[in-house]
Symmetry: C2
Subunit: 314 residues, 2 copies
């Protein structure tokens, strides 16, 4: 147990309202009148979620995108955001606000309020954002996966992880760097998928760790077939097609794709939706009785890597 997991455990004991979902989901659900609101608050900290040298415009984009991605994972339509901002050097702040404005306009989301605080010079930066959305129907949780369901993921996995390596100085194309710095939350896909899925979440900490969390929340086991994980051509060109490259993609995180399960008979509807949206949805495995995660590659079971992804307290 790390300090952070201890703290989260103690906060969970306070969060007894059913809408809190045990602090185990991407977002909370608040029923108000006949409306179903979806609420999330995500923070970005320098050195943990972004690098000191990342452009401030991109940090602002990412702060908005990661919060919207939580709403996407719950099939919610974003309504508004609030910002918690710690002042830095004025040129940094000006560029952050510039990037935030562009991101807000890009997603057509109003900034409704927030707070700013002055911190001592040299304090590592951290920013918080609250996003409020509304769900039209039921709000998918992480806990609805059932044995026999298929496991799916949107888009491609691993690009952002490669992008982080590029941000740290490795060689590689700008397209991968962009996927790390300016992720695109799958809002439209999330809303369209919500009525079809048995469980859904966004992939933020790594495909393997997030799949294992979905399985644990559902009380089932997840099976992932490594060679079905969708990799972009840019990723393949850079990292190759080895098992190591696939495991790297599956554990790197920051993808902000959607991971979801659905009964097998919904596969045609899911394929049809992918066609309509022009976004690939890939079957990467399935759900079984039991617990934990199994990974197959080319038909044989692969030992789990020591690190499935980013964990709080890493």
């Amino acid at each position: 147990m790390t300090r952070e997991s201890d703290l989260i455990a103690s906060l969970r004991r306070l969060a007894t309202d059913p809408g809190a979902r045990g602090l185990m989901d991407d977002a909370a659900v608040l029923e108000v009148g006949d409306m179903r609101l979806v609420l999330t608050h995500d923070m970005l900290a320098e050195g943990v979620h972004f690098l000191r040298d990342d452009p401030p415009e991109d940090v602002a984009w990412k702060l908005l995108a990661v919060n919207l991605s939580d709403l996407a994972g719950k099939g919610a339509r974003p309504l508004a955001v609030l910002l918690g901002y710690s002042l830095g050097p004025s040129d940094w702040d000006a560029r952050f606000v510039d990037g935030l404005g562009r991101a807000l306009r890009g997603f057509d989301i109003p900034l409704l309020g927030g707070d700013t605080i002055a911190v001592a010079a040299g304090t590592p930066r951290s920013y918080g954002m609250t996003a409020i959305g509304v769900a039209e129907g039921a709000v998918p949780s992480r806990s609805g996966a059932a044995p026999g369901d298929l496991l799916w993921v949107t888009g491609s996995i691993g690009d952002a992880g490669a992008g982080l390596a590029i941000a740290r100085g490795a060689e590689g194309p700008a397209a991968l760097l962009e996927r790390y710095r300016t992720p695109m939350p799958r809002l439209e896909a999330g809303r369209a998928l919500a009525p079809l899925v048995s469980a859904m979440m966004d992939v933020s900490d790594g495909l393997l760790i997030d799949a294992s969390r979905l399985a644990a929340a559902s009380g089932v086991a997840a099976l992932i077939t490594l060679d079905q994980i969708p990799l972009s051509q840019a990723y393949l060109d850079l990292a190759g097609e080895s098992r190591g490259a696939r495991l790297e993609a599956a554990t790197a995180g920051d993808d902000y794709e959607l991971l979801f399960t659905a009964p097998r008979e919904r596969a045609p509807a899911i394929h049809a939706l992918a066609d309509r949206l022009g976004l690939p949805f890939s079957r990467i495995g399935g759900i079984e009785e039991g617990s934990g995660l199994r990974v197959l590659d080319a038909g044989e079971e692969v030992p789990l890597p020591p690190k499935l992804g980013f964990e709080h307290g890493d």
Copy 2:
């Protein structure tokens, strides 16, 4: 212009949605279906909003209380909160969570979600909270005061300022220290006052500065009669009855009382409400044509003190 006021000005240019109220109000208004939600996000930073030696339980209480006070100022009923938490030493964190639990139960508010981040040891602590409330009717703003209105305040002013001096080592009674460390948001009064007032806000930064902000937002002038500002017996016993003591109370801040204006003919209804709630409401002045703030004491105009209260960037 400070760095912080520059930043706030640039954020205001982004917050063009009418519900953001130009980032000038205590909270934002979000209409969803036929519901009127009231949203606020306030942060507490070590060395700015609390002292390093303040008990962590009380910092947690205050974080909740200051957010609920923003909802009180808008006449909203709190529905839920989200927490943004930066990890500190484990004993501090355990005591904070303990105090947060007590505060949540005290106000009967669910913690629905949030985020935790690890920061480097020694980083000054800062915490964020988002509170979501619902308004039954119109949401009072700061900008509705009109010439001829009376200016009122709930409870007593200056206790928390004296309490801060006590927290810093001055002699004084525990009751004043408590008003600094564990303020009580005026939720019930705010909801009951909302239909009666022309403008309302909570007093967080100091009565004089907050009154001047209300006047500025309304495009009017405020007149405050210093000898009508309600002071507690504990404050009078400690600070005396001098003009200096009254000015100190009126500029110290952290009161979390409600400041409001209403047409003169509503005075009987306001007095009746005070009786019903068992909470004193004091007439401390009025609203005039013009701009700015005038302060009278014993019938004569008093020069404004150099500092009307706490300003972002102080």
